[in-house]
C-alpha cells in the first residue's frame, strides 16, 4: 500500500480533471500531478536525503512533494513556518539528511543545517514539470513511513508522529468514495501543510476527484472572496477561522457564498454561539464537525449535517446538546471511554477517550508506540459517549492550551516566566473563549518587593516566545495550589478563577 496508488487511480480514471487550480482550467490535472510526482521522486532519489521536508505555505508544490516522497519511499515532513528560526533549525537538524522544499523568504534557518539541501519552490516545480517520468516503481510495503508530523507534546518538546502508508490509505479507503465528487466540486484548503487536516485534505480530495483550491495565508475576507470566485462547494476550517468568517460576513450584508454545500470544522473546541450564528448565515450549507488527532490520521468521529439540523430544531436538551458533540465514531473504528486504570466506563461517564482501528498510529519517531498490547490508543483527550453513541470531547487531559487551533504547552510559558527575576512561581492554563476557543491565563507569584504589572509580564513573554504564546490574562496570587506529590493543580486554579481578579489590560 502506498499513497501513490490513490493518485495513480485518480490519474487513470479522471486524469484530465483539474487536481489543483482554478475553475477557469488553469492548474494541474491529475495526470500531470502524477507525472510531476514521478519526476519529484527522481529529484529526491538523486539526493542523499532520507527525508523530504516542506517549509513553505500551500501551493501546488505541496501535493507534488507529498506524492513524490511517497513514490520515492521517503517520509514527508511538513514543518511549521511559524516557529522561531532557532526551532526550525533544530527540527532541520533532527531530520537531516534531508532535502527541503522551501521559499526564498523561509529557507534561512535551514541553510546552516549540515546534510540539508534546500530547493526553492519555483525551481522544484519547473524541474518536476518536464522530462521523463519513471516507471510506477514505488514500494507497496504498508509499513513504510508516509508522513512525519511534529506535534508539541506534554513537555513542550516537539515529537514527530509517525503516519505509515497503511494508516493513511486505510483512512482514505474507509472514509472517501472513489471519484465520489462531481465534476463541478471544489474544496478550499486553508489549513496549513503542517496540520494533519491539511495532509488529509489533499489525500481525500485526490481520491474523491475534488478540485483543490489553496489559500496559503488565511484571512476571512480573502477566504470569502476566493470561495465566491472559485464556486467552492466544500471547505474545512478550524474554529478560529469560522469565527472570523462569521464576523466578516456580518460586516458585509448581502454577501453570500451560494455554491458552498458543505463546511466542515474541527481542530479545537467550537464555541456554540459561533456555530449557531454560522448555521443561520449559511442556511443552505451542510455542516460537518470532525474530531480527530494527528496520531489517528485525522478524523475519527463526525457530526453530520442531519445531526446539526436535528439538534437545532429539537425541543429535547439531549438532542440539542449534540451540537456541542463530535458526533459518532467512523464505522471502521472503535471508541471507548476509560478510567485511569484503563477500565471501560459506563455510558455518560467522563474519562479518557481511547480509539482503535487501522488508521490509528499512536507512534512517535524515536519514542515508540503509545498503543496498548491489544491495539488501543489512549488519546489523552477527555470525554464521554451519550446513550445514542455521540462522542463529547472535553479537551486535553494533560492541560495543553488550544488557542486558535494551535497547541500551546503551558510548561513552555511557565518556564519562560520563571526566568524573570521578580517571578517566584508561575502557572499557565487555558480558559474557554468565544473567539480563540481558549485563551491563556497565567497565575504568577512575585517576589516580596516586586510591583510587576500585568502588562510587563505579557511584554516579557512576548519578547521571549512568539506572540501566540503571550498570556491573554495575568493574575497575581499569593501561592499556587499543589498536591502532596508536588504536582501543580491547574484544575484548581481554573476553578478558582472566578474569585480572582483578572487584569484585562
Amino acid at each position: 500500500m502506498n499513497l501513490m496508488m490513490l493518485l495513480e487511480m485518480a490519474s487513470s480514471a479522471f486524469g484530465d480533471r483539474i487536481a489543483v487550480g482554478s475553475k477557469d482550467g488553469s492548474g494541474v490535472s491529475y495526470s500531470a500531478l502524477y507525472s510531476n510526482s514521478g519526476r519529484a521522486a527522481e529529484i529526491f532519489r538523486n539526493s542523499p536525503a532520507e527525508k523530504v521536508a516542506f517549509l513553505d505555505t500551500s501551493s501546488v508544490a505541496l501535493p507534488t512533494a507529498l506524492f513524490g516522497s511517497a513514490w520515492a519511499g521517503l517520509p514527508f515532513v511538513p514543518l511549521n513556518y511559524r516557529l522561531t528560526e532557532t526551532e526550525i533549525h533544530e527540527l532541520g537538524s533532527e531530520i537531516a539528511p534531508a532535502v527541503g522544499i522551501t521559499s526564498a523568504s523561509m529557507r534561512g534557518p535551514l541553510e546552516e543545517v549540515p546534510q540539508f539541501e534546500t530547493i526553492e519552490r519555483e525551481g522544484f516545480l519547473s524541474q518536476a514539470s518536464s522530462g521523463d517520468v519513471p516507471d510506477a516503481d514505488w514500494s507497496m510495503d504498508p509499513d513504510q513511513i508516509a508522513i512525519l508530523l511534529f506535534t508539541s507534546g506534554t513537555t513542550g518538546a516537539p515529537k514527530a508522529a509517525v503516519l505509515r502508508h497503511s494508516h493513511l490509505v486505510s483512512y482514505i479507503l474507509g472514509s472517501v468514495e472513489f471519484m465520489g465528487a462531481g465534476d463541478e466540486e471544489a474544496t478550499l484548503v486553508s489549513v496549513p501543510p503542517y496540520h494533519v487536516a491539511g495532509m488529509a485534505a489533499l489525500c481525500s480530495s485526490v481520491y474523491a476527484g475534488r478540485r483543490i483550491v489553496q489559500l496559503p495565508n488565511f484571512d476571512p475576507s480573502s477566504w470569502i472572496d476566493l470561495a465566491i470566485a472559485e464556486s467552492i462547494t466544500h471547505a474545512m476550517v478550524v474554529p478560529t477561522m469560522l469565527s472570523r468568517i462569521v464576523e466578516e460576513l456580518e460586516n458585509r450584508p448581502g454577501v453570500s457564498i451560494d455554491s458552498l454545500r458543505a463546511l466542515s470544522y474541527g481542530g479545537g473546541k467550537m464555541p456554540r454561539p459561533v456555530i449557531e450564528k454560522a448555521l443561520h448565515l449559511f442556511p443552505n450549507t451542510n455542516f460537518v464537525n470532525a474530531y480527530g488527532l494527528t496520531e489517528t490520521s485525522s478524523t475519527i468521529s463526525v457530526l453530520g449535517p442531519e445531526d446539526h439540523r436535528d439538534a437545532l430544531e429539537s425541543d429535547e436538551e439531549a438532542v440539542r446538546r449534540r451540537l456541542s458533540s463530535a458526533g459518532k465514531p467512523l464505522p471502521n473504528l472503535e471508541v471507548s471511554i476509560r478510567d485511569e486504570e484503563g477500565k471501560v466506563l459506563q455510558t455518560g461517564i467522563s474519562g479518557e477517550i481511547w480509539v482503535k482501528g487501522e488508521q490509528v498510529s499512536g507512534e512517535y519517531l524515536g519514542h515508540g508506540t503509545k498503543l496498548t498490547d491489544d491495539g488501543w490508543f489512549p488519546t489523552n483527550d477527555g470525554g464521554f459517549l451519550d446513550e445514542s453513541g455521540y462522542l463529547f470531547v472535553e479537551g486535553r487531559i494533560d492541560d495543553i492550551i488550544i488557542r486558535g487551533g494551535e497547541n500551546i504547552s503551558p510548561g513552555e510559558i511557565e518556564e519562560t516566566l520563571l526566568t524573570h527575576s521578580e517571578i517566584r512561581d508561575a502557572a499557565a492554563f487555558g480558559i474557554p473563549d468565544t473567539h480563540w476557543g481558549e485563551v491563556i491565563v497565567t497565575a504568577i507569584v512575585t517576589t516580596g518587593e516586586s510591583d510587576l504589572s500585568a502588562t510587563e509580564v505579557k511584554e516579557f513573554v512576548k519578547n521571549q516566545l512568539r506572540s501566540s504564546r503571550t498570556p491573554d490574562h495575568v493574575v497575581i496570587v499569593d501561592e499556587l495550589p499543589y498536591n502532596e506529590t508536588g504536582k501543580l493543580l491547574r484544575r484548581v486554579l481554573r476553578e478558582n478563577l472566578s474569585s480572582l481578579s483578572i487584569d484585562e489590560g
Binding site: 500500500m1 481525500s204 460537518v288 485525522s298 453530520g304
Partner: protein, 102 residues
C-alpha cells in the same frame, strides 16, 4: 498464492487489476472471471473470456470481500470478470458514504 497487504494482482481474462488491502496468512485461490489471477509483472496479456457465472464485472474503486471479510481487494482497474476465491464470488463491501470532513 499467498497474499499480503499491498500485493497487486491482474486478471488473466480481462482488464481487472486489484490491490490486496487485507489478506489472511494462507494460500488462496484468487480468481477473476473464474480463472486464477496472476502477477501484474507477468508479461503475458489476458486471453480468453470470463466463464459464465463469473462475468458480472468489476468496478473501479470498489472494495471486494469474502464472507468472513478476512480478504479485501481494491479494484484499481475495472474489467468484465468477477472476483472470487475458488468458486465463491466476492462481494462489494458496502460502505455508507461519509460527509467530507477534511
Amino acid at each position: 498464492m499467498e497474499l499480503r497487504a499491498g500485493s497487486r494482482l491482474k486478471s488473466a481474462v480481462c482488464d481487472t487489476e486489484v490491490i490486496a488491502v487485507k489478506a489472511p496468512a494462507e494460500d488462496l485461490d484468487i480468481r477473476c472471471g473464474g480463472v486464477p489471477m496472476t502477477d501484474p509483472t507477468n508479461s503475458e496479456g489476458e486471453s480468453g473470456t470470463p466463464v459464465e457465472g463469473a462475468d458480472g464485472g468489476t468496478l473501479m474503486g470498489k472494495r471486494y470481500v469474502n464472507p468472513e471479510e478476512t480478504l479485501e481487494l481494491l479494484c484499481t482497474k475495472p474489467g468484465t470478470g468477477s472476483l472470487g476465491v475458488g468458486d465463491t464470488l466476492l462481494e462489494i463491501k458496502e460502505s455508507k458514504p461519509l460527509p467530507a470532513s477534511d
